[in-house]
Amino acid sequence: MPLNSKVPEGPLPEKWTRHRLHLKLVNPANKRKFTILVVGTGLAGSSAAASLSELGYQVKVFCIQDSPRRAHSIAAQGGINAAKNYPNDGDSVERLFYDTIKGGDFRSREANVYRLAEVSNSIIDQCVAQGVPFAREYSGYLDNRSFGGAQVSRTFYARGQTGQQLLLGAYHALMKEAAKKTLELFPRREMLDLVVIDKAARGIIVRNLMTGQLESYAGDAVVLATGGYGNVFYLSTNAKACNVTAIWRAHKRGAFFANPCFTQIHPTCIPVHGDYQSKLTLMSESLRNDGRVWIPKNKGDHRPPAEIPESDRDYFLERKYPSFGNLVPRDIASRNAKEQCDKGKGVGTTGLAVYLDFADAIKRVGASVMEEKYGNLFAMYEKITGADPYQVPMMIYPAVHYTMGGLWVDYNLMSNLSGLFVIGEANFSDHGANRLGASALMQGLADGYFILPCTIGDYLAGISPGAFSPTHLEFKACENEARERLSKLLSIKGKRTVDEIHRQLGMLLWDKCGMTRHERRLNEALQKIPQIREEFWNNVNVVGTNEELNQSLEKAGRVADYLEFAEILVKDALHRTESAGGHFREECQTAEGEARRDDEHFSYVAAWEYRGAGQAEELHREPLEFEFAKPSARSYQ
């Protein structure tokens, strides 16, 4: 089946404007007849739900936590990009577009990325008007800072809690609408299935996490804003409840899954400290503005960092990438840290860490300025590790952070299934093979505030509202399937816990399909995953019943889906015999050890189609065409 990206005709800078002119509209009086289901309340979900309700649609919003404000967008620290060019340092929509598409290693859709850069400025305006307390200068004007992969300062921030503040802005908008009753909130609900009738999304099945009851909701469109799948690796910077279930279930109902192998490993995380470790904590990329990354020049140099003289230190990023230095993009910073540690030069008790040193910056600007900029991050580091970064360098190591892959969507953010829209991290569209820092917040809010509210009307204008209700047979069938699955999970009563099996899968993937990948190891993973899956379905122990709050059962359902999804993640990595962004194939590198892209064979989006249990998924290719940004070798030297 050919994939129609629906990218509009015309010159790149005019596409979005022209497209909006051609989109069909729903009459204001008719909007209230349409019901839209929004799943997930991070930046994308909350902003979309609030904006759709403002337009007059009936909106039902579902989230897994007890309140929409808890979604994991809240943990984003560093900032949000926009092309305002307030610092007068040469920024523009074109430059933000180019940096983002180059940062993504030319594996994203040009028109989408351009549109993202184009609406970035409106996001800042919107957020300021909502009362987001962005950092300001003494003059009262907004402050900016730099982030990886850019040579301009275009990142707006609210201390180290930018995600929190942006999410509160969107949450406030959501609550404003909820008070008006056009928007209804359903917290502590987990989506377990998508209901598809006549090849269009018509509703969802959710489990009420407090009572275990399965509930069916019908809608004229379904919007998935359920985030990424980083937790398939068990250890990641994601919150514990982040999961692949909603998009995986949608995939099994026909939505194509695009580029699952594009996973981002973030370079600055607190290293793993024990087997019991439940998650990894990110230290914002903004720290690389003032922190210098180094390791001892000589293997086996175990002196405390302060006793290692300059001449015995290797500032490897500054040495290898003089023009970007410590601010190279994430994939490059991560791989270089791994490379040094693999050579035995890593520091700390495990040898799997490098230093991120603030001594020079403290000397230059003083500890109080550093505290102003990074106080909460330094405090968090000290809480977790017991070491004070004002006194000793931080120790950091890469960890799974973000997933660029996700459900395939067209220019309107609709999947190949009619009426199923996918926004934010859950879709694949804007970050290609690597996401730049401070771009996730930008994309989530661009999709939710400014893109989806325009494009969804075009779909709704072509259908009649309220065509199906949850009494339809297909709803009942999906509900029964979900119920049977839950009973099956509860009936196994084996010997292993859900977490044990999840950890086993995670370690396998980190080892075989993590920061660097090789055909041999990927094939080993493909051998192993079905074995772990079988072990799970035969020997897992899920205690308790369905008819109660049962956190073991929730986890079990998610791990069951990871065990299926992991296979397509690895298959995608295996089929892409090139190195691009976060996907680094050891077979595909230059003599200097840099990633070697293969534009001739792999300049496409890999969209996978589910063909039934036990069947191989079918690969569909959406060719990527670049009119404006000609793919070049991605050099940061």
């Binding site: 902003s47 403002e54 007890d66 309140s67 808890r70 994991h72 809240i74 943990a75 307030y86 409106s122 305006d125 919107q126 300021v128 008007a129 009362g131 307390p133 962005f134 300001r136 907004l142 201390r159 809690q161 503040q165 949450y171 406030h172 609550m175 404003k176 008070a179 917290p187 407090m210 919150a239 514990k240 409840a241 793993v272 400290h273 024990g274 087997d275 019991y276 470790q277 439940s278 998650k279 904590t281 008790t349 495990t350 968090m380 809480k383 977790i384 017991g386 505030y449 509210p453 010997k495 816990t497 977490d499 044990e500 122990n541 205690v543 308790g544 109660e548 709050l549 956190q551 073991s552």
Partner: protein, 259 residues
């Protein structure tokens, strides 16, 4: 992962177990042995839960998500202190190095009439959402915002608003308050928005609505005990309460004058 010098401690836990809202709860005693002091408090509970599951018993239910102190989901009373003994710290960021070997830890859910227990340590904090719904926002529609720099905000005002906006709505303030008051949460919400120029047009109405909803939810009254500030993992200051009282007085007076 090999670790050269792991320090471990043994603990006795007295944990509140309650099947659901309507079933009476009780304390159960568990041994938590060989706890690595680098673990977080929640990782310690994970270890206890894994053992319970292995024994075929129900694990302790507790809310948690980000485990980096920002989502506000986790929280419990540990030996009578909300989020445990360490200041400015959520339960997920509390590490076991702060506990003595052989200590007994009493772990209870937040206790407040307005937060019914759902199960074990999990409580229903939807009252906080309803307070936010009553007026915790600035009414700006998507798309209608002016260029950001047409509005200047003094750095000090912006910083004060940010101090208030740092609230994570964990509800430790309510749990710590002898009156079960939600004044610090409500004041932080009001403070964030009332301090900013963007928040001025709706300031009076917001202040009155927030307070009215807080009272409706069945929280206790604030009598300036300030346990809330001491328990707050984000260091939200009681100055916000003073400011809310002042804003409330002014808003009520201006409403009376209108009447």
């Amino acid at each position: 992962m090999n670790k050269t010098m792991a320090t471990t401690i043994n603990l006795t836990l007295k944990v509140w177990r309650q099947k659901d809202r309507n079933t009476p709860g009780r304390f159960e005693i568990y041994c938590a042995d060989h706890i690595d002091t680098d673990m977080s408090f929640l990782e310690m509970l994970d270890v206890v839960n894994e053992k319970l599951i292995k024994e075929g018993k129900e694990p302790i239910a507790f809310d948690h998500d980000c485990r980096e102190g920002i989502c506000g989901l986790c929280g419990a009373m540990v030996n009578g202190q909300a989020h445990g003994p360490l200041r400015d710290t959520t339960l997920c960021q509390l590490h076991m190095r702060h506990f003595q070997n052989n200590a007994t830890l009493v772990i209870e859910p937040w206790r407040s009439r307005a937060f019914p227990v759902i199960k074990d340590l999990v409580v229903d904090r939807s009252a906080f959402d309803r307070i936010a719904m009553a007026g915790g926002f600035i009414s700006i529609k998507t798309g209608s915002a002016p260029e950001a720099h047409t509005l200047l905000v003094s750095k000090s005002k912006s910083d004060m608003a940010m101090d208030a906006a740092a609230c994570i709505a964990c509800a430790a303030c309510v749990a710590a308050c002898p009156n079960g008051s939600a004044m610090l949460y409500t004041a932080a919400k009001a403070g964030h928005l009332n301090l900013l120029p963007q928040g001025q047009p709706e300031k009076d109405q917001r202040t009155l609505s927030l307070v009215q909803q807080m009272d409706r939810e069945g929280f206790g009254h604030c009598s300036n005990i300030y346990e809330c500030e001491a328990a707050c993992p984000k260091g939200i200051s009681v100055t916000n309460i003073t400011r809310l009282n002042r804003d409330y007085f002014l808003a009520s007076r201006s409403r009376e004058q209108k009447v």
